[in-house]
């Protein structure tokens, strides 16, 4: 269902660090929970941030070397207002 919002070609602004954190903010511990499936929870919030901050560069490098996708999809934007 391409939408007006998601079909806009927007540019990603800001640091990739925040993009990665934004992605994990939305992906982890959210989404449809189907009863009976394995559900993972994530603890140690501050440690997660500190850890992600440290490993960010290596993840970014690995993804780029794999010719993987950009951190965010082309339809998304992160902006400071």
């Amino acid at each position: 269902m391409p939408t007006e919002a998601s079909s806009q070609a927007l540019t990603i602004e800001g640091e990739n660090e925040t993009s990665l954190l934004d992605i994990l903010d939305h992906v982890l511990n959210s989404g449809v929970v189907i009863h009976g499936s394995l559900v993972i929870s994530l603890a140690g919030v501050d440690l997660v941030y500190l850890g992600l901050n440290v490993i960010l560069t290596s993840v970014e490098t690995a993804l780029r070397n794999m010719n993987a996708h950009e951190f965010a999809t082309a339809s998304q934007v992160r902006r400071s207002v």
């Binding site: 269902m1 391409p2 939408t3 007006e4 919002a5 998601s6 800001g14 925040t18 993009s19 990665l20 954190l21 934004d22 992605i23 994990l24 903010d25 939305h26 992906v27 982890l28 511990n29 959210s30 989404g31 449809v32 929970v33 189907i34 009863h35 009976g36 499936s37 394995l38 559900v39 993972i40 929870s41 994530l42 919030v45 501050d46 997660v48 941030y49 500190l50 850890g51 992600l52 440290v54 490993i55 960010l56 290596s58 993840v59 690995a62 993804l63 794999m66 993987a68 996708h69 951190f71 965010a72 999809t73 339809s75 998304q76 934007v77 992160r78 902006r79 400071s80 207002v81």
Partner: protein
């Protein structure tokens, strides 16, 4: 109709006796589209397995066949490996984003595994009513992430060096601790209230960036697409009002991760 998987990637290069046990990793659930499901170009959660569509009643379930050992038996250990977590989280999002761009879609919770297609179909059938409700809630709406940061000069830190390692760690933890809702500045409360009035639903917080320095408040809002300009107007208004005091970051549109499940835990 999409083609069902004809072979499991994990089985291709393995002998019959040593074939690893595969399970289904669920990315998202789409309403059965009238047109044929298209191929998903994004790589699977393990970087190898293709993304496939399986029909369950009136829905399409988007899955990959992945190693049971990696994604079920040892998932707790995997989750402690932040590099693995970041990479897998990115892959999950890329798959869901691509599916969401093509079909009305509910993103599945990260790490949702089924032992077989039959198991998935059984659980989908049990969730029929709540899935319909979830699709109805998020119809024609997107999730937007909003963060408020302090940009004013921080309070002076203690100049005296920490006497012990534990004192140092405590100070470090205090610096990273996000402010609670009860301590929110009145202006920020008003800003958040404005967004709540505009949104269909809201969800406070986010696991990964909760410790970001200077972060005052963060959360997600489910916004009707027709109200996108109203969202922009609220953001612009407060950005102009706060100027050098606070910074607002807004990201999106996201698939409606935060509004399609029970996240009480």
């Amino acid at each position: 109709m999409p083609k069902k998987s004809t072979s499991l990637q994990t089985r291709k290069s393995s002998t019959k006796t040593h074939a690893p046990v595969a399970v289904l990793y669920l990315y998202a659930i789409s309403r059965m589209p009238e047109q044929t499901a298209t191929d998903i170009a994004a790589e699977g959660i393990d970087g190898a397995a293709p993304v496939e569509a399986i029909r369950c009643g009136s829905y399409l379930c988007w899955v990959s066949h992945v190693s049971k050992a990696d994604f079920a038996d040892q998932i707790s250990e995997r989750m402690q490996d932040l590099e693995w977590l970041a990479t897998a989280g990115l892959r999950h999002q890329h798959v869901v984003a691509e599916i969401s761009s093509k079909f009305p879609t509910l993103p599945a919770r990260f790490g949702t595994i089924f032992v077989s297609g039959e198991s998935l179909a059984k659980h989908m059938k049990q969730r029929g009513r709540s899935l319909r409700d979830a699709f109805q809630l998020v119809a024609d709406a997107d999730e937007w992430g909003v963060k408020v940061f302090v940009v004013a000069a921080p309070k002076a830190q203690p100049t005296k060096a920490a006497a012990t390692g534990s004192e140092y760690l405590k100070r470090k933890a205090d610096l990273l601790q996000p402010r609670t809702a009860g301590k929110l500045d009145k202006d920020v409360q008003t800003f958040v209230s404005s967004l709540k009035k505009l949104a269909i639903a809201h969800s406070i917080g986010g696991k990964a960036s909760a410790g970001q320095p200077g972060l005052v408040w963060h959360g997600s809002f489910l916004i009707r697409r027709k109200d996108r300009k109203k969202l922009d107007a609220v953001l612009q208004k407060y950005a102009a009002q706060w100027k050098d005091v606070r910074r607002i970051d807004c990201s999106g549109p996201w698939p409606p991760y935060s509004f399609v499940g029970n996240h009480a835990d």
